[in-house]
């Protein structure tokens, strides 16, 4: 318990908490100037999220892909790379899962794992392309990942419309039952919310993230390259190989996000006009979470809760749900400008300390 208190009063925990409070306050101020009642709005938000078991389950479902894409961006960051390609990797993950899910006919113990693997590998390869081009040709990964996002969008649309189309619809056939990864028992407890294996696997992914980076030799290399590529090169590590590996692993995380949206939630893939947004949200989640797996999980939880609850806010208080993005933006602003919060907190803390002495 003393440990918990010590962790909670540390800057690393205090700054995000203060930032969240400030974010909610800014949101409230904007709502007030718009003539809305922020208290009603926030109450409806909370009611929407924890009002009934179904909503709780659906909130968890909303959080899951955010953790995956957050891990994806964070992993690349740790290696000194900026992965804006979460969108594309997510889409390729969906496409791999849909292809295997629709086209193959296998027993369930083989079908679902194969579909997951296909999506993960496709997402990984999509990230790997950017890594390879950076390593071999020196092409800035920011550009390639942005371009690959668009290419993935159109490539996926082509694959669906050419090979997987449900006639008369703008979407693919349903995946076979044997490839679905719904958690029936858990879903029933949560009022048939769309809960799936991904919820468990994402936790494993976060643990794997931690172990790979901090407990293995490979992870040491990745971090060394991220920290100082020249020193790493001098120490005999291959910077280029590590860049490709990091982008591949990062891509796999984002790909898995897409995989479970197909296998666990929608069971089909639509022909999309725009990319789904989870990849970009992943950037925010990773940054808010300090590029640490635990931070990513917590940031995704906040993010997913606000996003899911925003529908309740617009229903209950008539507030446009977009205000949630302003709140999230403000929270990230204050976390990033932690110097600002620290300078405000410091006098408070000093006062408390002198109080203890006297």
């Amino acid at each position: 318990m003393a440990n918990v208190i010590r962790i909670m009063t540390k800057d690393s925990a205090l700054v995000p908490l203060v930032a969240i409070v400030l974010g909610l306050l800014v949101g409230a101020l904007i709502m007030l100037t718009g003539g809305y009642n922020p208290i009603t709005a926030y109450t409806s938000l909370v009611e929407k999220v924890i009002g009934d078991p179904y909503s709780i389950g659906e909130t968890v479902r909303e959080i899951t892909p955010l953790i995956f894409t957050g891990l994806s961006v964070a992993f690349a960051f740790r290696t000194g790379l900026f992965n804006i390609g979460g969108e594309g990797q997510f889409i390729m993950g969906m496409t791999g899962a849909t292809l295997v899910g629709v086209k193959l006919d296998l027993p369930f113990w083989l079908h679902a794992p194969l579909a997951i693997l296909a999506g993960a590998v496709l997402g990984g390869l999509w990230g790997g392309i950017a890594g390879y081009l950076k390593a071999k040709r020196g092409v800035n990964e920011v550009i390639t990942t942005i371009m690959l996002n668009w290419i993935a969008l159109y490539l996926a649309n082509y694959i669906i419309s050419r090979y997987l189309l449900q006639p008369g619809q703008q979407r693919s056939h349903l995946i076979r039952e044997s490839a679905m990864v719904s958690l029936r028992a858990l879903s029933e407890i949560f009022g048939n919310a769309r809960l799936h294996w991904g919820i468990l696997i994402v936790i494993l992914a976060a643990v794997a993230f931690y172990i790979i980076l901090w407990k293995t030799r490979q992870g040491y290399e990745l971090r060394a390259v991220g920290h100082s590529p020249y020193a790493a090169e001098y120490a005999g590590m291959s910077v280029n190989a590590n860049i490709v590996k990091a982008m591949f692993i990062g891509g796999m995380f984002a790909g898995l996000a897409g995989v479970f949206e197909i296998l666990g939630v929608f069971h089909y893939q639509v022909i999309a006009a725009a990319s789904p947004g989870y990849g970009f949200d992943g950037i925010a989640v990773a940054l808010l979470g300090g590029n640490h797996p635990l931070g990513v999980v917590l940031a995704a939880a906040l993010f997913g809760t606000l996003t899911y609850g925003s529908a309740g806010m617009s229903f209950g208080a008539d507030v446009p749900p977009e205000i949630v993005r302003v709140i999230i933006g403000t929270v990230i602003f204050f976390v990033a400008s932690h110097g600002l919060i620290r300078s405000v907190l410091k006098p408070l803390r000093d006062k408390r300390k002198t109080g203890e002495v006297t």
């Binding site: 081009l133 040709r137 092409v139 550009i143 690959l148 950037i283 446009p320 933006g329 602003f333 110097g339």
Partner: protein
């Protein structure tokens, strides 16, 4: 179809598609040349597109019909500048990670603009369609030149403005003392500081300029092609402008060339379909074309791009 006519039409469309990218990429150059990463270009464009649509709509309603698009442009410039203050404060004064701060801009802009549009336009996700928008202007005499006249000298006023700006910005960056200081701050802030250059002030000016220019970039789209603003008016063009800036190696003419290249690739997509041999190519592959071309050109011809040396590092005088 006559080959020359197609070529002229292609160049004409290229300029239309490129204009917004040129403005925004120029904004990116200011910010990044001074050492501040600007991932927020997308959000700044969104802000500009929003502000221009709203300003033009209300001034049009107030009766300033022919002035409305120009006031829209001004509104975008001011609002883009105001939004970029957030990026400047966070990344320069509070030494926040500049990438994070840019992402903040994208989030705030996306949320706040749509929130306001819904408030101002009775819950609708897009602004009312503007009547008073820019129209193409033919430059006297020059527009009479065969082929080139239609291709280049019959364009939106914003296009001319963008092209003139590129030259001005090149001059400012490479021929004026301010440009020298700006580049020094981006390459070696410590050295610049020693020589009496106020690093923070230069960076502030540059980030605000990037906001104003990206705002103009966003306005170009609403005031010429879409005539309204919604959440998907910009849809990634800020990121394309970012790519154009890197592609152009942080140089105004390089970025101009890159923006034209992107515009060209977009334009080609519309024209390939005119040819019989291209009918069998699936649409999706044509859509992919600009992006694949970019990667191929980057990987094959351009190669390594070296950013300003101090890009992304908050300036800490203590480390000098």
């Amino acid at each position: 179809m006559d080959f020359l006519r197609i070529l002229g039409e292609l160049m004409h469309t290229t300029l239309v598609f490129s204009t917004a990218l040129i403005f925004t990429a120029m904004g990116g150059i200011f910010s990044e040349r001074s050492g501040v990463v600007n991932i927020g270009l997308e959000g700044l464009m969104v802000s500009g597109a929003f502000a221009s649509a709203v300003t033009a709509y209300y001034t049009e309603q107030a009766g300033f019909y022919s002035l409305a698009p120009w006031l829209g442009l001004l509104g975008a410039l001011v609002f883009g500048l105001l939004v970029s203050v957030i990026h400047a404060v966070a990344s320069i004064t509070f030494k926040a990670n500049q990438v994070v701060s840019g992402v903040v801009i994208n989030f705030l802009a996306a949320g706040f603009t749509v929130y306001l549009v819904k408030m101002l336009f009775a819950g609708s996700g897009q602004t009312e369609t503007l009547n008073a928008v820019f129209h193409k202007v033919a430059v006297p005499l020059l527009s009479a030149i065969p082929l080139l006249g239609y291709a280049v000298f019959y364009a939106y006023p914003t296009t001319y403005l963008a092209l003139v700006l590129v030259v001005i910005i090149w001059y400012v960056l490479f021929k004026t003392p301010f440009g020298l200081r700006l580049r020094a701050v981006g390459e070696h802030p410590g050295a610049a500081d020693t020589l009496g250059v106020n690093v923070s002030r230069i960076r502030y000016i540059c980030v605000l300029l990037s906001g104003a220019l990206a705002g103009l970039g966003g306005a170009t789209i609403t005031l010429t092609t879409t005539s309204s603003f919604s959440h998907n008016t910009i849809s990634g063009q800020g990121f394309i402008a970012l790519a154009a800036m890197i592609f152009g190696k942080w140089h105004p003419f390089g970025a101009l060339a890159a923006a034209l290249f992107f515009g060209f690739a977009q334009a080609i997509k519309n024209f390939v379909q005119l040819f019989d041999w291209a009918k069998s190519i699936p649409m999706e592959f044509l859509y992919m074309l600009p992006y694949i071309l970019t990667i191929l050109v980057l990987a094959g011809a351009v190669g390594r791009a070296y950013p300003p040396a101090a890009l992304g590092e908050p300036y800490d005088p203590g480390k000098r």
